[in-house]
Protein backbone atom coordinates (compact mmCIF):
# COMPACT_ATOMS: atom_id res chain seq x y z
CA UNK A 1 0.00 0.00 0.00
CA UNK A 2 1.31 3.42 -0.93
CA UNK A 3 2.81 5.37 1.94
CA UNK A 4 2.62 9.09 2.50
CA UNK A 5 5.01 11.13 4.57
CA UNK A 6 3.82 14.22 6.37
CA UNK A 7 4.65 16.25 9.45
CA UNK A 8 2.27 16.56 12.39
CA UNK A 9 3.25 19.11 15.02
CA UNK A 10 6.73 19.16 13.49
CA UNK A 11 7.15 15.38 13.72
CA UNK A 12 7.74 13.28 10.61
CA UNK A 13 4.91 10.77 10.34
CA UNK A 14 4.29 8.13 7.72
CA UNK A 15 0.77 7.05 6.88
CA UNK A 16 -1.04 4.89 4.37
CA UNK A 17 -2.56 6.64 1.37
CA UNK A 18 -6.24 7.36 2.03
CA UNK A 19 -5.79 7.42 5.78
CA UNK A 20 -7.17 10.47 7.58
CA UNK A 21 -5.04 12.96 9.49
CA UNK A 22 -6.76 11.76 12.66
CA UNK A 23 -5.78 8.12 12.05
CA UNK A 24 -2.23 9.09 11.14
CA UNK A 25 -1.93 11.24 14.27
CA UNK A 26 -3.30 8.48 16.50
CA UNK A 27 -0.92 5.93 14.99
CA UNK A 28 1.91 8.33 15.81
CA UNK A 29 0.67 8.79 19.37
CA UNK A 30 -0.49 12.37 18.82
CA UNK A 31 -3.79 13.04 20.56
CA UNK A 32 -6.47 15.09 18.81
CA UNK A 33 -9.71 15.57 20.78
CA UNK A 34 -12.89 14.15 19.19
CA UNK A 35 -16.53 13.79 20.10
CA UNK A 36 -18.59 12.71 17.07
CA UNK A 37 -15.84 10.34 15.87
CA UNK A 38 -16.16 6.73 17.01
CA UNK A 39 -14.03 3.81 15.89
CA UNK A 40 -16.16 1.46 13.80
CA UNK A 41 -18.52 4.18 12.51
CA UNK A 42 -18.25 6.43 9.45
CA UNK A 43 -16.88 9.94 9.95
CA UNK A 44 -19.19 12.95 9.68
CA UNK A 45 -17.11 15.88 10.95
CA UNK A 46 -20.08 17.13 12.97
CA UNK A 47 -18.47 18.27 16.20
CA UNK A 48 -15.44 20.12 14.71
CA UNK A 49 -13.34 19.32 17.78
CA UNK A 50 -10.69 17.62 15.66
CA UNK A 51 -10.08 20.73 13.54
CA UNK A 52 -6.42 21.12 12.58
CA UNK A 53 -4.35 23.68 10.73
CA UNK A 54 -2.88 22.50 7.44
CA UNK A 55 -0.16 24.60 5.80
CA UNK A 56 -1.44 26.17 2.59
CA UNK A 57 -5.09 26.15 3.64
CA UNK A 58 -6.80 29.20 5.10
CA UNK A 59 -9.57 27.05 6.50
CA UNK A 60 -9.32 24.81 9.52
CA UNK A 61 -9.91 21.22 8.43
CA UNK A 62 -11.53 18.35 10.35
CA UNK A 63 -8.80 15.76 10.94
CA UNK A 64 -11.30 12.88 10.80
CA UNK A 65 -12.38 13.68 7.24
CA UNK A 66 -9.18 15.07 5.71
CA UNK A 67 -7.00 12.47 3.98
CA UNK A 68 -3.24 12.69 4.39
CA UNK A 69 -1.16 13.78 1.43
CA UNK A 70 2.53 13.74 0.66
CA UNK A 71 4.47 16.55 2.35
CA UNK A 72 1.44 17.82 4.26
CA UNK A 73 2.25 20.00 7.28
CA UNK A 74 -0.31 19.70 10.05
CA UNK A 75 -0.59 21.54 13.36
CA UNK A 76 -2.96 19.99 15.91
CA UNK A 77 -2.53 22.11 19.02
CA UNK A 78 -1.96 25.78 18.20
CA UNK A 79 -3.33 28.49 20.47
CA UNK A 80 -6.00 29.25 17.87
CA UNK A 81 -7.15 25.61 17.78
CA UNK A 82 -7.12 25.35 21.57
CA UNK A 83 -9.33 28.45 21.83
CA UNK A 84 -11.74 27.12 19.17
CA UNK A 85 -11.99 23.74 20.91
CA UNK A 86 -12.72 25.33 24.25
CA UNK A 87 -15.37 27.54 22.65
CA UNK A 88 -16.98 24.51 20.96
CA UNK A 89 -17.23 22.63 24.25
CA UNK A 90 -18.59 25.72 26.03
CA UNK A 91 -21.21 26.18 23.31
CA UNK A 92 -22.26 22.54 23.67
CA UNK A 93 -22.77 23.12 27.40
CA UNK A 94 -24.66 26.37 26.76
CA UNK A 95 -26.96 24.92 24.11
CA UNK A 96 -28.74 22.26 26.20
CA UNK A 97 -29.17 21.57 29.91
CA UNK A 98 -26.08 19.63 30.93
CA UNK A 99 -26.55 19.45 34.67
CA UNK A 100 -23.70 17.11 35.61
CA UNK A 101 -24.91 16.78 39.20
CA UNK A 102 -28.08 14.96 38.12
CA UNK A 103 -26.79 13.15 35.02
CA UNK A 104 -26.53 9.37 34.86
CA UNK A 105 -23.25 9.71 32.94
CA UNK A 106 -21.54 12.02 35.45
CA UNK A 107 -18.01 10.72 35.90
CA UNK A 108 -18.38 8.59 32.75
CA UNK A 109 -19.17 11.24 30.17
CA UNK A 110 -17.10 12.16 27.13
CA UNK A 111 -18.41 15.74 27.14
CA UNK A 112 -17.44 16.18 30.79
CA UNK A 113 -14.02 14.67 30.07
CA UNK A 114 -13.60 17.01 27.11
CA UNK A 115 -14.43 20.02 29.28
CA UNK A 116 -11.55 19.08 31.57
CA UNK A 117 -9.27 18.23 28.66
CA UNK A 118 -9.74 21.60 26.94
CA UNK A 119 -9.41 23.51 30.22
CA UNK A 120 -13.00 24.72 30.43
CA UNK A 121 -13.37 26.29 33.89
CA UNK A 122 -16.69 27.95 33.09
CA UNK A 123 -18.98 28.77 30.18
CA UNK A 124 -18.53 32.29 28.80
CA UNK A 125 -21.79 32.24 26.84
CA UNK A 126 -25.37 32.66 28.04
CA UNK A 127 -27.08 29.35 28.70
CA UNK A 128 -30.05 28.86 26.38
CA UNK A 129 -31.97 26.63 28.84
CA UNK A 130 -34.18 25.12 26.12
CA UNK A 131 -37.16 23.02 27.10
CA UNK A 132 -36.20 19.49 26.01
CA UNK A 133 -38.22 16.31 26.24
CA UNK A 134 -37.29 13.11 28.03
CA UNK A 135 -38.71 10.02 26.30
CA UNK A 136 -39.01 6.90 28.43
CA UNK A 137 -41.65 5.20 26.29
CA UNK A 138 -39.20 2.38 25.47
CA UNK A 139 -39.38 -0.41 28.05
CA UNK A 140 -35.58 -0.69 28.44
CA UNK A 141 -34.04 2.61 27.42
CA UNK A 142 -34.63 6.34 27.67
CA UNK A 143 -33.53 9.41 25.71
CA UNK A 144 -32.99 12.72 27.49
CA UNK A 145 -32.65 15.46 24.88
CA UNK A 146 -31.27 17.82 27.53
CA UNK A 147 -27.99 15.89 27.31
CA UNK A 148 -27.81 15.24 23.57
CA UNK A 149 -24.93 16.90 21.69
CA UNK A 150 -26.13 15.83 18.22
CA UNK A 151 -22.95 13.89 17.49
CA UNK A 152 -25.16 11.39 15.60
CA UNK A 153 -23.17 8.43 16.89
CA UNK A 154 -26.47 6.72 17.79
CA UNK A 155 -27.77 7.38 14.27
CA UNK A 156 -24.67 5.85 12.67
CA UNK A 157 -24.42 2.90 15.07
CA UNK A 158 -28.07 2.04 14.41
CA UNK A 159 -27.75 2.43 10.65
CA UNK A 160 -24.28 1.10 9.96
CA UNK A 161 -23.80 -1.57 12.62
CA UNK A 162 -27.30 -2.75 13.52
CA UNK A 163 -28.51 -2.03 9.98
CA UNK A 164 -31.85 -0.70 11.13
CA UNK A 165 -31.77 3.12 10.96
CA UNK A 166 -34.33 3.69 13.69
CA UNK A 167 -32.49 6.89 14.68
CA UNK A 168 -32.21 10.02 12.58
CA UNK A 169 -31.90 13.77 13.04
CA UNK A 170 -34.85 16.11 12.47
CA UNK A 171 -34.95 19.91 12.50
CA UNK A 172 -32.25 22.51 12.01
CA UNK A 173 -29.84 24.44 14.20
CA UNK A 174 -30.79 24.64 17.84
CA UNK A 175 -34.12 23.00 17.01
CA UNK A 176 -32.44 19.83 15.72
CA UNK A 177 -33.29 16.67 17.65
CA UNK A 178 -32.49 13.01 17.23
CA UNK A 179 -35.69 11.10 16.49
CA UNK A 180 -36.80 7.48 16.30
CA UNK A 181 -38.59 6.31 13.15
CA UNK A 182 -40.52 9.31 11.81
CA UNK A 183 -40.55 11.17 15.09
CA UNK A 184 -42.70 8.75 17.06
CA UNK A 185 -41.97 8.01 20.74
CA UNK A 186 -39.12 5.49 20.97
CA UNK A 187 -41.42 2.84 22.47
CA UNK A 188 -43.57 3.01 19.36
CA UNK A 189 -40.68 2.83 16.89
CA UNK A 190 -41.42 -0.43 15.10
CA UNK A 191 -37.97 -0.71 13.54
CA UNK A 192 -36.10 -0.64 16.88
CA UNK A 193 -34.64 -4.04 17.77
CA UNK A 194 -33.74 -2.94 21.33
CA UNK A 195 -30.12 -3.96 20.59
CA UNK A 196 -28.65 -1.13 22.70
CA UNK A 197 -25.94 -0.14 20.21
CA UNK A 198 -27.13 3.49 20.36
CA UNK A 199 -26.62 3.31 24.11
CA UNK A 200 -23.07 2.02 23.62
CA UNK A 201 -22.31 4.77 21.12
CA UNK A 202 -23.76 7.75 23.04
CA UNK A 203 -20.95 9.90 24.52
CA UNK A 204 -23.12 11.56 27.19
CA UNK A 205 -26.05 10.56 29.37
CA UNK A 206 -28.57 11.31 26.59
CA UNK A 207 -29.34 7.65 25.88
CA UNK A 208 -29.46 5.59 29.04
CA UNK A 209 -30.76 2.32 30.39
CA UNK A 210 -33.89 2.94 32.40
CA UNK A 211 -33.45 2.78 36.14
CA UNK A 212 -29.85 3.98 36.00
CA UNK A 213 -29.21 6.67 38.60
CA UNK A 214 -26.61 9.46 38.84
CA UNK A 215 -23.04 8.35 37.99
CA UNK A 216 -24.17 4.72 37.57
CA UNK A 217 -23.97 4.64 33.81
CA UNK A 218 -21.17 2.46 32.50
CA UNK A 219 -20.57 1.85 28.87
CA UNK A 220 -17.74 0.91 26.61
CA UNK A 221 -17.98 2.70 23.24
CA UNK A 222 -15.04 0.57 21.99
CA UNK A 223 -17.47 -2.35 21.72
CA UNK A 224 -18.93 -0.84 18.55
CA UNK A 225 -15.52 -1.19 16.86
CA UNK A 226 -15.15 -4.71 18.28
CA UNK A 227 -18.49 -5.75 16.78
CA UNK A 228 -17.52 -4.28 13.40
CA UNK A 229 -14.11 -5.98 13.48
CA UNK A 230 -15.57 -9.32 14.54
CA UNK A 231 -18.02 -9.26 11.65
CA UNK A 232 -15.29 -8.50 9.15
CA UNK A 233 -13.37 -11.55 10.35
CA UNK A 234 -16.44 -13.75 10.19
CA UNK A 235 -17.56 -12.78 6.72
Amino acid sequence: MAARTLTIDGRLVSARAGESILEAARDAGIHIPTLCYLDGLSEVGACRLCLVEVAGSNRLLPACLTPVSEGMEVQTATERLREHRRAIVELLFAERNHVCAVCVASGNCELQNLAIQVGMTHVRYDYLNPVCAVDISHPQFGIDHNRCVLCARCVRACDEVEGVHTWDVAGRGIHARVITDLGVPWGQAETCTSCGKCLLACPTGAIFRRGTSVAELERDPKRIAQIVAARQERW
Partner: protein
Protein backbone atom coordinates in the same frame (compact mmCIF):
# COMPACT_ATOMS: atom_id res chain seq x y z
CA UNK B 1 2.34 36.61 59.90
CA UNK B 2 -0.88 38.58 59.86
CA UNK B 3 -4.04 36.78 58.88
CA UNK B 4 -5.91 37.64 55.71
CA UNK B 5 -9.61 38.44 55.84
CA UNK B 6 -11.76 35.61 54.52
CA UNK B 7 -15.47 35.37 53.72
CA UNK B 8 -17.81 32.67 52.47
CA UNK B 9 -21.21 33.36 50.91
CA UNK B 10 -24.22 31.13 50.35
CA UNK B 11 -26.44 32.06 47.40
CA UNK B 12 -28.83 29.75 45.51
CA UNK B 13 -27.40 26.36 46.44
CA UNK B 14 -27.91 23.50 48.87
CA UNK B 15 -25.04 24.38 51.25
CA UNK B 16 -23.24 21.22 50.13
CA UNK B 17 -20.16 23.28 49.26
CA UNK B 18 -20.10 24.67 52.80
CA UNK B 19 -20.47 21.12 54.12
CA UNK B 20 -17.51 20.16 51.96
CA UNK B 21 -15.57 23.10 53.43
CA UNK B 22 -16.35 21.80 56.92
CA UNK B 23 -15.13 18.38 55.75
CA UNK B 24 -11.64 19.86 55.89
CA UNK B 25 -11.74 18.70 59.51
CA UNK B 26 -8.48 19.31 61.37
CA UNK B 27 -7.06 21.42 58.54
CA UNK B 28 -9.65 24.04 59.51
CA UNK B 29 -7.38 24.81 62.48
CA UNK B 30 -4.50 25.48 60.07
CA UNK B 31 -6.85 27.61 57.99
CA UNK B 32 -7.99 29.51 61.08
CA UNK B 33 -4.38 30.39 61.84
CA UNK B 34 -4.02 31.96 58.39
CA UNK B 35 -7.39 33.64 57.87
CA UNK B 36 -9.84 35.71 59.84
CA UNK B 37 -13.42 34.72 58.98
CA UNK B 38 -15.24 38.05 58.62
CA UNK B 39 -18.50 37.08 56.91
CA UNK B 40 -20.59 34.06 55.95
CA UNK B 41 -23.12 31.49 57.15
CA UNK B 42 -20.50 30.26 59.63
CA UNK B 43 -20.00 33.73 61.15
CA UNK B 44 -22.50 36.02 62.85
CA UNK B 45 -21.91 39.12 60.77
CA UNK B 46 -24.85 40.93 59.18
CA UNK B 47 -23.14 43.18 56.66
CA UNK B 48 -20.38 42.38 54.21
CA UNK B 49 -17.26 44.23 55.43
CA UNK B 50 -14.88 46.36 53.36
CA UNK B 51 -11.48 45.16 52.22
CA UNK B 52 -11.95 41.38 52.23
CA UNK B 53 -8.94 39.52 50.82
CA UNK B 54 -10.61 36.27 49.76
CA UNK B 55 -14.27 35.33 49.28
CA UNK B 56 -15.69 31.92 48.34
CA UNK B 57 -19.17 32.04 46.84
CA UNK B 58 -21.43 28.99 46.83
CA UNK B 59 -24.63 28.97 44.78
CA UNK B 60 -26.10 30.61 41.73
CA UNK B 61 -27.60 34.09 41.43
CA UNK B 62 -31.32 33.45 41.80
CA UNK B 63 -32.88 36.54 43.40
CA UNK B 64 -32.42 40.31 43.76
CA UNK B 65 -30.68 39.97 47.11
CA UNK B 66 -28.08 37.62 45.60
CA UNK B 67 -27.49 40.02 42.74
CA UNK B 68 -27.06 43.08 44.98
CA UNK B 69 -24.81 41.24 47.44
CA UNK B 70 -22.73 39.73 44.61
CA UNK B 71 -22.03 43.26 43.33
CA UNK B 72 -21.21 44.49 46.83
CA UNK B 73 -18.90 41.50 47.42
CA UNK B 74 -17.10 42.14 44.15
CA UNK B 75 -16.51 45.79 45.09
CA UNK B 76 -15.16 44.81 48.50
CA UNK B 77 -13.21 41.64 47.69
CA UNK B 78 -9.74 41.26 46.25
CA UNK B 79 -9.97 37.60 45.14
CA UNK B 80 -13.37 36.11 44.34
CA UNK B 81 -13.82 32.34 43.92
CA UNK B 82 -16.89 30.62 42.44
CA UNK B 83 -17.17 27.54 44.64
CA UNK B 84 -19.03 24.54 43.23
CA UNK B 85 -21.22 23.87 40.22
CA UNK B 86 -24.13 26.18 41.14
CA UNK B 87 -21.79 29.20 41.28
CA UNK B 88 -19.84 28.00 38.22
CA UNK B 89 -22.65 26.78 35.91
CA UNK B 90 -26.00 27.48 37.61
CA UNK B 91 -26.39 23.71 38.01
CA UNK B 92 -29.53 22.40 39.75
CA UNK B 93 -30.55 25.90 40.87
CA UNK B 94 -30.75 26.99 37.22
CA UNK B 95 -33.12 24.14 36.36
CA UNK B 96 -35.94 26.52 37.26
CA UNK B 97 -35.06 28.51 34.12
CA UNK B 98 -36.74 25.74 32.16
CA UNK B 99 -40.05 26.61 33.82
CA UNK B 100 -39.92 30.14 32.38
CA UNK B 101 -41.31 33.15 34.22
CA UNK B 102 -40.60 32.78 37.98
CA UNK B 103 -43.85 34.44 39.06
CA UNK B 104 -45.84 31.71 37.33
CA UNK B 105 -43.57 29.13 38.95
CA UNK B 106 -44.19 30.52 42.44
CA UNK B 107 -47.92 30.63 41.79
CA UNK B 108 -47.77 26.93 40.85
CA UNK B 109 -45.71 25.91 43.87
CA UNK B 110 -47.43 27.97 46.56
CA UNK B 111 -51.01 27.97 45.30
CA UNK B 112 -51.99 25.66 42.47
CA UNK B 113 -50.01 22.56 43.48
CA UNK B 114 -50.08 23.18 47.22
CA UNK B 115 -52.62 24.55 49.64
CA UNK B 116 -55.03 26.63 47.55
CA UNK B 117 -55.65 28.95 50.52
CA UNK B 118 -51.98 30.00 50.49
CA UNK B 119 -50.70 32.89 48.44
CA UNK B 120 -47.26 33.62 47.01
CA UNK B 121 -45.28 35.27 49.82
CA UNK B 122 -44.78 38.95 49.15
CA UNK B 123 -43.01 40.86 51.89
CA UNK B 124 -40.92 43.71 50.52
CA UNK B 125 -37.52 43.86 52.19
CA UNK B 126 -37.94 40.38 53.69
CA UNK B 127 -38.61 37.97 50.84
CA UNK B 128 -36.31 38.86 47.94
CA UNK B 129 -37.88 38.81 44.47
CA UNK B 130 -36.69 36.07 42.13
CA UNK B 131 -34.82 37.41 39.13
CA UNK B 132 -36.03 36.24 35.75
CA UNK B 133 -33.21 33.79 35.08
CA UNK B 134 -30.83 32.02 37.41
CA UNK B 135 -27.25 32.67 36.30
CA UNK B 136 -23.81 31.52 37.33
CA UNK B 137 -21.83 34.00 39.45
CA UNK B 138 -19.58 35.12 36.59
CA UNK B 139 -22.63 36.23 34.58
CA UNK B 140 -23.30 38.79 37.34
CA UNK B 141 -19.79 39.91 38.37
CA UNK B 142 -16.21 39.12 37.28
CA UNK B 143 -14.84 36.02 39.00
CA UNK B 144 -11.14 35.33 39.60
CA UNK B 145 -11.14 31.55 40.10
CA UNK B 146 -13.53 28.67 39.47
CA UNK B 147 -13.74 25.45 41.46
CA UNK B 148 -16.39 23.17 39.90
CA UNK B 149 -17.85 20.08 41.57
CA UNK B 150 -21.13 19.21 43.21
CA UNK B 151 -19.76 19.71 45.72
CA UNK B 152 -16.00 20.07 45.18
CA UNK B 153 -14.32 17.61 47.54
CA UNK B 154 -12.61 18.87 50.69
CA UNK B 155 -9.11 18.00 49.35
CA UNK B 156 -9.80 20.07 46.21
CA UNK B 157 -11.04 23.02 48.27
CA UNK B 158 -7.93 22.68 50.41
CA UNK B 159 -5.64 22.55 47.36
CA UNK B 160 -7.19 25.74 46.02
CA UNK B 161 -7.04 27.55 49.35
CA UNK B 162 -3.42 26.50 49.91
CA UNK B 163 -2.45 27.83 46.49
CA UNK B 164 -4.30 31.12 46.99
CA UNK B 165 -2.90 31.59 50.51
CA UNK B 166 0.60 31.01 49.11
CA UNK B 167 -0.07 33.61 46.42
CA UNK B 168 0.15 30.96 43.70
CA UNK B 169 -2.16 30.23 40.78
CA UNK B 170 -4.49 27.29 41.61
CA UNK B 171 -3.62 24.51 39.20
CA UNK B 172 -6.35 21.89 39.33
CA UNK B 173 -9.59 22.58 37.45
CA UNK B 174 -11.34 19.42 38.54
CA UNK B 175 -14.52 17.83 37.44
CA UNK B 176 -18.07 19.10 37.12
CA UNK B 177 -20.83 17.23 38.91
Amino acid sequence: MSRITFATVWFGGCSGCHMSLLDLDAWLFDLASKVELVYGPLADQKTFPDGVDLTLVEGAIANEEHLALAREIRRKTRVLVALGDCAVTGNVTALRNLAGDPSGLLQQIYAERGDPTLAVPRAPGIVPRLIERVTPLHAAVPVDHFLPGCPPSAPRIRAMLEALLAGAEPSEIGRFG
